[in-house]
Symmetry: C2
Subunit: 199 residues, 2 copies
């Protein structure tokens, strides 16, 4: 026999599916909801339902959006000649948070992973090439992750864009800001040395 | 301008109301739900709604229950002559988890707190006294918290039950199992000394 009343137990089980939420956190959340005002808790239930219903991919860039075209693509104040290619919509959020980028995006929906059978046709590469071929962009920044598959994806895209009249760049790699040289791994330090800049 | 699409942003705001959930965790949960199967995420939304609708207080003991009478009160295999009085339904869960108690419960819904204007009439004390006066119980264990208000509440209840044919006990207090004598505070050590047992 289980410790909780059935409706509470069912909620705890559902909460445990969230990343990093174990039995104790799920219980704490459930108890909070039990005691919280009806309106606050029902708003959470509705927000979950509405997000699953309303969130979709932007028709232009495949970013998550509440409408057909995302806010970034709709924003006429942005630099529409600059395109940043990322693996996932979470990467868009991370880059937006910096405030250091004012161009547009293209979300690949993953990266090339031949071993998992993930080829160009599983990503949004065809649409990316269409956008780039339209000639709107002066620069495409390949911001896939700095790992084997992200690098491979960037390499593939650079080759596909080789004949086009567009500058293709890749995010800089090196020692993370705030990091310690003595703690950086071999490949991080190699990258940092190779990419050293003149002062 | 905000980093997330409107439906995602709304969900993040709702998730941030949960205890210990900051902006980053809320975002992680929201992204998880965005990518998780429709059915898994909708089950969470429904479980929240159903719990708020179905969870109620047991008519006997005021524990949280999906039905009019909670599972513990309905369980005929329990010792129905033993009553454990606690402040909240979370205390029931904690005690049940030990597996060391097989009697019934009574949830006070708080403790006496004169400074906050919380008197006996704000708790379920009248019903508790009715239950005890019925003569069903041979022992009432007062398991309110070992702090000023919990002690005050236990004292009050003990006085109210003074004339009745029932043994009234209080949870033992002392050094917590796994704790260190050298780290225990003054009042913990005083309790432990006063309550010392013969070996």
């Amino acid at each position: 026999m289980n410790e909780h009343a059935e409706p509470v137990e069912r909620l705890i089980k559902a909460l445990e599916k969230l990343p990093g939420v174990g039995a104790r956190s799920a219980e704490r959340f459930a108890y909070h909801m039990l005691d919280a005002p009806q309106e606050e808790t029902m708003e959470l239930a509705r927000a979950i339902r509405d997000m699953k219903r309303d969130a979709k991919e932007c028709k232009q860039c495949y970013n998550i959006s509440g409408e057909d075209e995302c806010r970034i693509c709709r924003d006429r104040s942005r630099d529409r000649t600059l395109l940043c290619v990322v693996e996932t919509y979470q990467d868009v959020t991370a880059i937006e948070r910096t405030g250091a980028y004012r161009g547009l995006y293209h979300v690949l929906r993953g990266r090339l992973a031949p071993l998992e059978g993930k080829g160009p046709e599983n990503l949004t590469i065809r649409r990316l090439l269409e956008r780039v071929k339209s000639g709107e962009f002066r620069e495409v920044i390949l911001a896939t992750n700095p790992d084997m598959e992200g690098d491979g994806t960037a390499m593939f895209l650079a080759q596909e864009m080789a004949g086009l009249d567009v500058k293709v760049t890749r995010l800089a790699r090196g020692i993370p800001s705030g990091g310690r040289v003595k703690l950086a791994g071999k490949s991080i330090l190699s990258d940092a040395l190779e990419g050293r800049t003149e002062l």
